[in-house]
Symmetry: C2
Subunit: 228 residues, 2 copies
Amino acid sequence: MHRTTIKVVEDALDANTTLAKANRSDFDRSGVTVVNLMSAPGAGKTTLLTKVLGDMKGVRVGVLEGDVQGSLDADRLAHLHLPVVQIQTDNGFGGECHLDANMVRSALPDLPLDDIDLLIIENVGNLVCPAEFKVGEDIRIMVSSVTEGEDKPAKYPLMFRACEMVIVNKIDLLPYLDYDLDKFNYYLDGVHPEVPRMFVSAKTGEGMEELRDYLVGLATRTAAPATT
Amino acid sequence: MHRTTIKVVEDALDANTTLAKANRSDFDRSGVTVVNLMSAPGAGKTTLLTKVLGDMKGVRVGVLEGDVQGSLDADRLAHLHLPVVQIQTDNGFGGECHLDANMVRSALPDLPLDDIDLLIIENVGNLVCPAEFKVGEDIRIMVSSVTEGEDKPAKYPLMFRACEMVIVNKIDLLPYLDYDLDKFNYYLDGVHPEVPRMFVSAKTGEGMEELRDYLVGLATRTAAPATT
């Protein structure tokens, strides 16, 4: 009589995790550092990219744009002469509100992975679901605009927890808003204490040098990835 | 020999539609007009409500707040002394990014439907999925902040299509933004021509009287509901 061993392979049940790991292997093989860039709609992700990707100090960058529909964001990056691939999530009624590992995987053949050092995946603007779907990235960066109000970490805690860097954008508008930076930091510390944060303005250029250095550091591994 | 008739009951397969209709019946029975208020995170839905619900010219209002977590929005409405019920969608990993008819239904016992004329359901901040889930409402109002950029109707078309009114908020910030109102109207006309739109600022009060009159009109049925 022999015993039956039942092995529960939990991860195998989760197709997204399996596919994220497959993406991860491909990225590792090509030596590509991958950033998953997330935010609410209109927080300024694409504008930030147009400001910093023009001169990345020798780091070769590719961009994967996720949108429900259209290619407006990819078009805005066209002048940078980088490899940019657009994924449209609108494959059904209304479209998906996030990128998942399979969508990213479907775009990999169109990306010259061996010729880039850093891949930036601009996720669909949404403060809930993108945080639930890993796509094979090294680092998740969360962009939060001051125009959204300081309470967002408390209202969308997973999103602010599931990231290694928080970029607070549009600080040029602070004089015109009732926005309390201390309160934002308090709420953010409540869900993700000690996560690094940068306060920037793509419009005035404030903090752009710091952001560029951070991204360059990620790609050249001279800067340690932020804590998970 | 008799023939078998197969009747395909399409709607019955869609639990959300069935439950939305059940909600609708309850609202009708109590004579309540229901508004589904949708926007991206931080567009200012709650602030708009705090500005207009204080004096609704005799219309009795209730509010149903949808959030992933917490009760910040409900707390902000507390001083208005209205019936406010908070739904938290965080019943799983990360939480749901929208309200559905079942969540709204679960809140109905806590709402004094017979004692209100207008129920405002403030949806989770998200520009994709809320548009896909009817909850039994009469009218869907979409709030778009100018700080999000003028391209949002083109990027999130279903959301701007699945509404009967678009409120463009935070227009007090226009002098400090590179925001082209004509372009916004152009994009909006592209996905939803002739949808009525209001340009307002909860901060300065501009357009608040108009918005209040619109909501009062919906509840008293003196104003025809906007086109669907």
